[in-house]
Symmetry: C2
Subunit: 232 residues, 2 copies
DNA sequence: GTCTATATCGAGATAGAC
DNA sequence: GTCTATCTCGATATAGAC
């Protein structure tokens, strides 16, 4: 077994194309990508364990043996989706934090740091975009992932380190302990953005809450998290 | 199929005894309760789908057929654990909110409402208590539950309604829409309290964060959420 | 009520033809 | 690369003896 690169921070792999953009010369998507897209969607909607390779190959309209041929196993397919999407997300976050650093002489305020942390995944939630399922997949991975994925999530914190470092600088009045906890709380806001939780919120609010206005939602989330950080 | 009572708010069922307290006259725990406790623990630690009835009966040291005899099916067992623990949790929350209402002439401040929402599940997380696995089970149910459990979670919001009502009263300066969102964010703090997330936080902080000091953790969480609510 | 043995099914993986 | 057919395993559930 080859070990996958544990760093999901900034990878060298090609992440530039949307899934559907990998086209064969004949104009139809390659089997491998059909499987990738179908699997991501089914996993995101129904959960990892409830979706079988048969479900995936049926959805992708490819042969049953395709998954093992192209990916080796169902778990390897899961891991590849996870690593690719995680790398994309962390790259977007790193880019925004980098820009915030550039705009504030290396010492961005709390709000800018939180915005770089929160905005990328919430932008993905836009129903008008094609990334809604990707972010649902990643949220699911946090609780339903394979052992390998869980180990990566637990131990690979390199992408978070630069955010915690920036927050430590931006909040000198807080103890480091307190900064780490508040970062944890802020991440909790993001991880709670599941379909089912939105549904419940809509039930409770009588339809008042619109999760499809992503820019407004980002503002609400950043406001909430920032207030938590600024508190003495 | 008999429909279980969808209201998990305040039920009439007996919730007064700890699991291990149901003892037969011979002094050994009844099979049914052995199964219940073992199943809750394994589900909480490993997830619902990854645990088989064989794992459970082996852990409980009872016969393989016990689950189907006493509960009907694996899913029915899951649902019973879920409904019992949810009812217990909501009862504790309702009691605290009731007390806050009594102490503040029916108009408790935001902090008291949030405390009633947050303190019960976080108290359960005390490693010195016996409820740590119960709260991990309930957190898992939010993403890994059966269709029936998910439906209950999505549609049964009666226990949340009294909290949103209290917050609407306590925050007249906010639009209802904003209040519902901030309640959603506050719940996100709670749902993020998984073993794996604590592990990651500990990795990131170099062991600075101690999740076993529950009273301190409750204060941190209430502080964070309250600041988010008080913001203009 | 409890246990052994088994029925039945669906899963992931693979062999081998094309 | 792709497909069909199949292997093998582990799951839930149940029948029937005690």
């Amino acid at each position: 077994m080859t070990q996958p690169d544990p760093s999901l921070d900034l990878t060298d792999q090609d992440l530039s194309l949307d899934d559907e953009a990998h086209l064969t010369q004949a104009g139809c998507a390659a089997t491998r990508d059909l499987v990738f897209v179908a699997a991501e969607r089914l996993f995101a909607v129904h959960g990892f364990q409830k979706v079988s390779v048969r479900d995936i190959t049926a959805e992708a309209k490819v042969n049953l043996a395709s998954i093992n041929y192209h990916f080796g196993s169902k778990d390897a397919l899961l891991l590849e989706i996870f690593t690719r999407r995680t790398a994309e997300l962390n790259r977007a976050r790193a880019k925004m934090l980098h820009e915030a650093n550039a705009a504030h002489a290396g010492k961005p305020p709390v709000r800018a740091v939180l915005h770089a942390l929160i905005a990328p995944p919430v932008r993905w939630m836009d129903p008008k975009g094609e990334r809604l399922i990707s972010v649902q997949f990643l949220i699911r991975a946090r609780s339903e992932g394979t052992d390998q994925m869980r180990d990566i999530l637990r131990t690979d914190v390199s992408h978070l380190r630069r955010f915690s470092d920036a927050l430590l600088v931006a909040c000198p009045q807080l103890t480091p302990e307190e900064v780490y906890w508040r970062l944890h709380f802020s991440l909790g806001l993001i991880h709670n953005n599941r379909f089912a939780e939105f549904d419940r919120l809509n039930t409770l609010s009588g339809g008042l809450t619109r999760e499809d206005e992503v820019d407004l939602l980002i503002q609400r989330m950043v406001n909430f998290a920032e207030a938590g950080f600024l508190r003495a």
